[in-house]
Amino acid sequence: MKKLLPIIVLGLAPLTAIAAGSAVPDLLAQYKSQGAADFSAERGKAMWSEKHVQKKSGEMVSCATCHGTDLSKPGSHAKTGKLIEAMSPSVNAERLTDPAKIEKWFLRNCKWTLGRECTTQEKGDFLTFIKNN
């Protein structure tokens, strides 16, 4: 059993290695391969609070409407008020670990906020900003 233990521990290592933000490098590489230039946390931050008029409701909305400007704090859904866990990988270990989840929310939230899908450049800027905050 003593001999087996290190093998078991090594075997588990890949499972525990899923760290917050782990999905970002691959996604950024993918966006670049699709034509995006270098990514900027500054641009991501500026876009985060940039307000857009929603066609249907006529309301001014931004990412911060639901997520707030301090990414280490939880936000709340603009309509239902449901709690949205903090976006920052530094306080929320689950953030930016699942590429499918990231793309799903980009699709929904870009359409809700900007009225269109985000470009790969914008998505990369957002990820870079969120990962560093």
Partner: protein, 187 residues
């Protein structure tokens, strides 16, 4: 075993089945005054993890038994404009959740609330908002608007869990009601 014993056993089983189902179907208006199946006035809790995760991340994961199948299909077919929000899902996830909702919709349930909801709808009516069902308006008509719409901690009837403390378990009888800033509510 002779024929008599078999016949007796069958008869016994039939009686038992009948009496159990009559208890299950004869619950009173408030469904909590005892009896083996005192919870039949409530709706079966959500059992599908995918539905709970995907839909419950933005709002209370309403039990499928609140709407007929045609309503769920319409809702799931228009997720790009989900009451003004974009709630799009990938095809595989959307179909899987639609199947879950359809399979446990009000049409499939024998419980009191689901049957009352169905019978209050015209055949050509496909309601999308649970909170606007005639049944739901009726159940809440004695509650002053200041306790729901005018209550910042509630906001609307769509936030079931704000007052129905056991809503996630599908329990909506008045004993589980606790209105924020007001307390228990007994009508």
């Amino acid at each position: 075993m002779n024929n008599k014993t078999i016949f007796g056993g069958l008869l016994m089983t039939a009686f038992l089945t009948l009496s159990i189902s009559s208890i299950a179907y004869s619950d009173d208006d408030h469904g909590h005054e005892g009896g083996v199946f005192s919870r039949t006035s409530d709706v079966p809790a959500v059992t599908n993890k995918q539905y709970a995760t995907e839909c419950g991340s933005c709002h209370f994961a309403y039990q499928p038994g609140w709407l007929p199948e045609r309503s769920w299909r319409k809702i799931m077919g228009s997720l790009d404009d989900h009451f003004g929000e974009n709630a799009e899902l990938g095809d595989v996830t959307r179909e899987s959740i639609t199947n879950y909702l359809a399979g446990r919709s009000a049409d499939t349930l024998p419980n009191r609330m689901s049957r009352r909801i169905l019978s209050s709808l015209r055949a050509d009516e496909t309601p999308l908002r649970i909170s606007e069902l005639g049944f739901m308006r009726h159940e809440h008509d004695e509650i002053p608007t200041r306790l729901i719409e005018g209550n910042p901690k509630v906001g609307s009837r769509s936030s079931c869990q704000a007052c129905h403390t056991q809503a996630a378990a599908g329990i909506f009888n008045e004993h589980g009601v606790n209105i924020p800033g007001f307390g228990q509510y007994d009508d």
